[in-house]
């Protein structure tokens, strides 16, 4: 009774007017007092439904009860049993659709236990503890089995796979096409939502375990599949992500000032565009329209505000309810003054004489029957077209699977959408020594799903390779 009458913790956050002028993380993290109190709300249910809602089945009550007892490092250890990147998932998981959506509190018409905040708290505590006490990270005392594994791509799928395989005694090398390790965690999700030090700490942990990272190396280009065999790899895990940005194919979309969210975020997050000492330029706009309603769109529109734009708009063809972005990001965007133009779809761009975009024509929409995705599909309202002044447009209408690996290995079975086809249990592809996971298999999903794929692939590949030893 007492437990259930405690209100859900409120995440301390930077004030909106301050944070839009900086790149600091918006959510400041719970204090230990807040975390312990929030942890005490958890009822340690006999049949915890929250676990069912977590794609990797983290033992949620167990880690939370350790926080309540003040055993934070134990809590962190429990998280690490299942999740390779708890500090990341605690920040970016769509908890309201996953673990927290199943919490018993929802049945009581109360707000669910803040599982994500607590997960983040435990993981951050452990990281800060390592730093504060100068704890030297050392490889786990696994005996090496002499087998070599190559990982293609250093996003969450690749990192979690690498972490598991190194602990199982394999020699693991992760190849990354870009000049930084981390995949979307580095080039996509901005600092104000996921600070680089959080990602770096995870990568340092893997390095300390002995994982070898090779950047600037594209499998299928720099090194071919055949060459991986010559190099002696016994297994290959492809985690090359969903790189290819989609455009809408409407008139004027190639004008200057119209770019993909990937380009915009990469210029700013990976290349540091606009910061002193960085050579990469980025276009700045006063009136910025971001097309789309996912996490990438929210990240782009909030980045535009931080780049100094006066007006930043989300242009989305359905309504607020159907928006796929995390609810918290939508709230944060609203607090920061982002305008939401819902039920609007761009149909044409207009440019000045130099080819720079100056306006867009948008078609008003209304919701019709539910479509294949179960969401009500938007249909144009006849004649309801208006023109809006814009000087920067970020297109964030989805991505396709990265074609580099399928192009380089023609024998590999891919779906019509371009995703690599795998056995769902083992993540093994049509080629015996290639396993795959994350967005290259799912075609654009979440960090936790990518990570879960990495773990499952590691377990299955290990079982297979044991037979060969």
């Amino acid at each position: 009774k007492e437990r259930t009458s405690i209100p859900r913790v409120v995440m301390p956050q930077l004030p909106a007017d301050f944070r839009v002028k900086s790149n600091h993380e918006v959510n400041q993290g719970l204090s230990q007092g807040q975390a312990v109190l929030e942890a005490s709300r958890c009822l340690d249910c006999p049949d915890p439904q929250c676990i069912q809602g977590c794609p990797v089945s983290i033992n949620i009550p167990s880690f939370i009860k350790n926080i309540e007892r003040g055993e934070i490092l134990t809590a962190a250890k429990i998280l690490k049993h299942t999740s390779a990147l708890p500090a990341v998932c605690g920040r970016v998981c769509p908890q309201e659709k996953q673990c927290e959506s199943r919490c018993i509190y929802n049945k009581m018409k109360k707000q669910p236990v803040a599982i994500g905040y607590l997960e983040r708290f435990a993981a951050d505590f452990e990281r800060e503890n390592i730093k504060a006490n100068n704890i030297e990270l050392r490889p786990s005392a696994t005996e090496k089995n002499g087998m070599d594994i190559a990982v293609v791509g250093s996003g969450p799928a690749g990192l979690s796979f690498a972490g598991d395989m190194i602990k199982k005694g394999y020699n693991v090398t992760v190849y990354e096409a870009l000049h930084e390790i981390g995949g979307v965690l580095k080039y996509g999700i901005p600092e104000f939502r996921l600070p680089n030090i959080v990602v770096e700490a995870e990568i340092d942990g893997l390095r300390a375990e002995g994982v070898n990272f090779v950047k600037d190396c594209i499998i299928g280009k720099t090194i071919s599949y055949e060459q991986l065999h010559e190099l002696g790899y016994d297994g290959i895990f492809v985690a090359s992500g969903a790189g290819l940005p989609r455009f809408m194919g409407i008139p004027g979309e190639n004008y200057i000032g119209i770019m993909s969210a990937n380009e915009y975020l990469t210029r700013i997050n990976l290349m540091g565009a606009g910061r002193p000492g960085e050579d990469t330029p980025v276009l700045k706009g006063n009136r910025v329209a971001v097309i789309g309603g996912g996490n990438t769109a929210m990240d782009s529109v909030r980045t535009a505000l931080r780049q100094g734009s006066q007006k930043a708009m989300i242009v989305y063809r359905r309504s607020l309810e159907e928006m796929p972005a995390r609810v918290e990001e939508v709230h944060h965007a609203q607090e920061e003054g982002v305008e939401f133009m819902t039920l609007c779809n761009p149909i044409e761009y207009i440019a000045d004489e130099k080819g720079r975009v100056k306006a867009m024509r948008v078609q008003r929409m209304e919701l019709g029957e539910p479509d294949a995705s179960g969401r009500r599909s938007p249909v144009p309202v006849e004649g309801a077209v208006e023109e809006i002044e814009v000087d920067l447009v970020i297109v964030s209408v989805g991505v396709s699977p990265n074609p580099l690996i399928p192009n380089a290995i023609p024998q590999l079975e891919v779906s019509r959408r371009g995703t690599i086809v795998v056995n769902e249990d083992s993540m093994q592809s049509s080629i015996y020594d290639i396993y795959a996971g994350g967005d290259i298999v799912r075609g654009g999903a979440t960090v936790i799903l990518a990570m879960g794929d990495g773990r499952r692939a590691a377990a299955a590949m290990d079982a297979e390779l044991r037979k060969q030893r």
């Binding site: 096409a177 870009l178 190639n254 200057i256």
Partner: protein
């Protein structure tokens, strides 16, 4: 890593760098490019691989200083290192014996053209190379080009070397005198546009290598997009070479000015 082992000035603003990059040297084919970065704050800059030595494990880059980043690259000296080099990127040139190939290089475009000239010759083609530049000092790689060409024509705007006139005049003179089966043009976007317009008149298949603005070079950002045959293509993964007669050069030229 990525150490510069040789440097040569072709002209005031054009340098040749030979760089250690053994893995890339081994896997590259004519037409491929790399993306380089100089310094921790460096921009990702695409440059064509103009030659490679698999024994020494080196690649050759020819760079024209036109802005901040290419100036930094040209200022690198022997012993200095690139911070990053990734590649080989793009689709390799389709090499085939088609008969007579006219290869046109404008300015620094001669560097990326050289491996194609060589491969076309080795495939059994008759190769006529046309090197064009504003003035004689800017004609580069003449000796190397001659080695693999049946004939070399030099065109300068001011007539200071070879014939006076634009590259298109050179192309037209060859077309008027013999049967040409393929034209390859690499150089500034405007030059490629006009070569393309010229060969279109004669209905001669023409290939160009586009040098759009890029970021990642792996198909992730779309900065490099161009319209080819009415469809949006990504130069870094679908190109850099395209059928010239289908490229929307005006749009490409416009997009090159995005950061001016």
């Amino acid at each position: 890593m990525y150490k510069i082992v040789e440097k040569e000035h072709f002209s005031e603003n054009v340098v040749k760098l030979i760089v250690e990059a053994p893995m890339i040297a081994q896997s590259r084919r004519p037409g491929h490019f790399v993306i380089v970065r100089t310094g921790e704050g460096g921009e990702r800059i695409p440059l064509t691989i103009s030659a490679a030595d698999t024994v020494k494990g080196t690649i050759t880059l020819v760079v024209q200083a036109i802005g901040e980043s290419t100036r930094k690259i040209c200022a690198l000296e022997i012993g200095d290192c690139f911070t990053d080099i990734v590649g080989p990127l793009g689709q390799a040139t389709h090499i085939e014996n088609v008969g007579t190939v006219v290869c046109c290089g404008g300015g620094v475009g001669v560097a990326p053209l050289l491996p194609i000239i060589k491969a076309m010759k080795e495939a059994g083609n008759r190769v006529v190379s046309i090197l064009a530049a504003r003035t004689s000092d800017l004609i580069i790689l003449e000796k190397e080009v001659s080695e693999y060409s049946d004939e070399v024509i030099i065109m300068t705007d001011d007539g200071s070397k070879g014939q006076k006139g634009l590259v298109t005049a050179g192309v037209e003179s060859v077309i008027n005198r013999e049967k040409v089966d393929l034209v390859v043009a690499i150089g500034p976007a405007v030059m490629m546009k006009f070569v393309s317009l010229t060969t279109k008149k004669y209905d001669i298949p023409t290939m160009v290598s586009l040098n759009t603005i890029m970021v990642d070079g792996t198909g992730m950002c779309g900065a490099c997009r161009v319209t080819v045959d009415g469809k949006t293509k990504f130069v870094c993964i679908d190109g850099p070479e395209f059928d010239a007669h289908k490229v929307d050069f005006d749009e490409m030229i416009m997009r090159l000015r995005a950061y001016n």
